[in-house]
């Protein structure tokens, strides 16, 4: 049975970063809420028009760091209580000596949690995506700036949105699921 292809969205191509940022702002003003911008490098100016303001990666890092420190310290305390050794008559729970491993594990866990958070928040790995079928999309990793208005947006109408984008962009392509 052949199913009717459903639109994923409309992909518009802009010549430079300023045009993309302006287009994002006007799309937001026009009522579009489900939009995604693509650029060859991070553009912090895009965060405001796209409504990105969270710092969840830092939360992941902090959680990982605290967890790592607790694991590192807990591990050493447990190991020393489980098999007590007299090391040069130091106290059994020797805080200064335990700080190194505590710190190292805090850093390690924080980094692992950061990477985990990055992948979870970006919904990666995802080896295929409808956008990869659009030939214009590859330009986003070169020197092109793209804006995709998603079909799931309540405001989205294939013909109207296309016309709206065509007024602003260099080119507009339809992306199918």
């Amino acid at each position: 049975m052949k199913t009717e292809p459903t639109p994923y969205g409309l992909l518009a191509e802009f010549p430079d970063a300023e045009a993309l940022i302006a287009a994002c702002e006007s799309a937001r003003a026009a009522g579009y809420r489900r939009l995604e911008a693509f650029s060859p490098f991070p553009l912090e100016e895009l965060d405001a028009p796209l409504g990105l303001s969270d710092c969840r990666v830092q939360v992941f890092a902090l959680t990982g760091g605290v967890l790592g420190a607790a694991c590192g310290f807990g591990l050493q305390v447990y190991a020393n209580l489980d098999y007590p050794l007299n090391i040069g008559a130091r106290p059994l729970i020797a805080l200064p000596a335990f700080m190194v491993v505590t710190f190292l594990l805090a850093v390690l866990f924080a980094c692992l949690a950061t990477v985990l958070g990055l992948f979870m928040l970006c919904r990666l790995p995802r080896l295929h995506h409808p956008l990869f079928d659009a030939s214009a999309f590859a330009g986003a990793s070169d020197d092109r700036f793209l804006l995709c208005l998603l079909a799931e947006d309540a405001h989205f109408h294939l013909a109207d949105t296309r016309a709206w984008l065509a007024e602003r962009a260099d080119s507009v392509t339809e992306v199918w699921q």
Partner: protein, 449 residues
């Protein structure tokens, strides 16, 4: 020469950067020279394998280290390689946080260098064990022996230090390279290349949401990596504090070791940068200004290391301890004095050539000085590590009998193969310059101009 913060021409188009950096792995042209390099490195790797087989079948007795010199090439080379690794993290993380855009041309190769240097270093502690098959006993796990690592000892800390450092370096390198893998995927024509870079890029889409989280993650890891460098290299200076030899207890050791580590690492980064820009014809991205900056970093960290020499010698005489004085004199006029004076000549005297800007900007001269620094730093480690063991507190235990054996030297030379073979593969398959960060720096600068 462009007078911009990124040292590149203001009008360099972004597409030219992508084309140049991505076409190296995608349409590799330097096949002949690359195969020659890989062949040479593989020979060294072969030597390493043979030396390890001999070591594992006949035991650590094939090395010259013996009482009183129990720590020789094994710990010496471990410290030397690990120190080299630190410069990569330093360039990538610290210069990122300090917003020095010129680092973007150098960070990828420096991170790859770090990765392989830490691997070479990490192998040594395993190989120097009498029963290397039980190396995992240093890891804390609920074993049937009922024992745990001795957490009050720097040797147990060291396991965690190397492991954390290796993993953090890998993560930092990989997270920093994902957008470039995606660029290579998008530019690839062949199915194999698309699959290879597609899997490495993990579906990266250059979306603004991706970038936001990526930017946060990258900075967080950089922020964590900087104190990690300091703790790892001061950590292995504690390994020496652990020993009961005079000359291993100077309070200047942790900063002295950090400075020496970064110093030797910058030297290898400079050497690799000169080699990479020549082999891959990246002269326009790794410019003479970059070499100039590396030269300045080598000079500055060299002086920090020289301060360590001075403080170490001064404290020995100032301490009033006869044994400390004896060890310091043995370092300077004893049978191993060659290592002390070679370190001084390479790390302090030859280094001063870097005051002249034309020397720093000349790839050939800079490489020679970098090579001298690497030799000098190796000698410094020898002087620091081996000499004190030949001068025990008890004169009856004094011995000048230590000399490295053939297999000891072969193993060390072989580690260059362990370093070189993966590095050759990186040269061939990994974008050696962080293209997207270069493009970002170019964009920001055009905006500001």
């Amino acid at each position: 020469m462009a007078d911009t913060p990124h040292f590149l021409p203001l009008d360099l188009p972004a597409s030219a950067v992508t084309a140049q950096v991505m076409d190296i792995p995608l349409r590799f042209t330097q096949r002949r020279r690359w195969w020659m390099l890989l062949g040479a490195c593989s020979t060294l790797l072969g030597l390493f394998v043979v030396a390890v087989i001999v070591l594992f079948t006949r035991g650590v007795g094939v090395w010259g280290s013996n009482t009183p010199v129990n720590w020789a090439f094994d710990i010496l080379n471990y410290i030397w390689w690990l120190g080299i690794g630190h410069a990569g993290t330093f360039i990538s993380a610290l210069l990122l946080l300090m917003e020095r855009p010129w680092r973007n041309s150098l960070n990828r190769l420096a991170e790859l260098m770090t990765l392989m240097a830490v691997c070479c270093a990490g192998l040594y502690p395993i190989m120097h064990l009498g029963r290397p098959q039980y190396f995992y006993w240093i890891a804390p796990y609920p074993s049937t022996l009922g024992l745990w690592p001795q957490f009050k000892s720097p040797t147990a800390w060291d396991f965690f230090a190397v492991l954390s450092y290796l993993l953090v370096s890998v993560l930092f390198l990989y997270i920093g390279a994902i957008p470039d893998f995606a660029a290579a995927r998008d530019r690839a024509k062949g199915r194999g290349q698309q699959l290879f870079y597609g899997i490495l890029a993990m579906g990266w889409r250059n979306a603004a949401t991706h970038w936001r989280y990526w930017h946060q993650a990258y900075r967080v890891i950089a922020l964590l990596a900087v104190p990690l460098v300091f703790s790892v290299s001061s950590g292995y200076s504690f390994l020496l504090n652990l020993g009961l030899a005079a000359g291993w207890h100077s309070t200047v050791f942790p900063p002295y070791f950090v400075a020496g580590a970064v110093f030797s690492g910058f030297a290898l980064v400079a050497l690799l940068a000169c080699g990479v820009r020549r082999l891959l014809m990246l002269d326009n991205l790794i410019t003479t200004r970059h070499l100039d900056m590396l030269g300045r970093l080598i000079l500055a960290t060299g002086w920090l290391t020289a301060y360590g020499y001075l403080a170490d010698v001064f404290m020995a005489f100032y301490s009033g301890e006869a044994q400390e004085r004896e060890v310091t004199l043995a370092r300077m006029i004893g049978p191993t004095a060659w290592s002390f004076w070679l370190a001084i000549i390479c790390n302090v005297v030859i280094l001063q050539a870097l005051w002249w800007p034309w020397v720093r900007r000349h790839a050939g001269w800079l490489s020679l000085i970098a090579l001298a620094v690497l030799v000098g730093m190796w000698c410094e480690r020898y002087m620091l590590l081996v000499t004190p063991q030949t001068r025990d507190f008890m004169p009856s235990a004094w011995s000048d009998a230590y000399s490295p054996t053939f297999w000891e030297v072969a193993l060390f030379i072989g580690t260059f193969g362990v370093f070189g073979v993966p590095f050759c593969l990186f040269l061939r398959y990994v974008p050696m310059v962080s293209a997207f960060e270069v493009k970002q720096a170019l964009h920001r600068n055009r905006e500001g101009a």
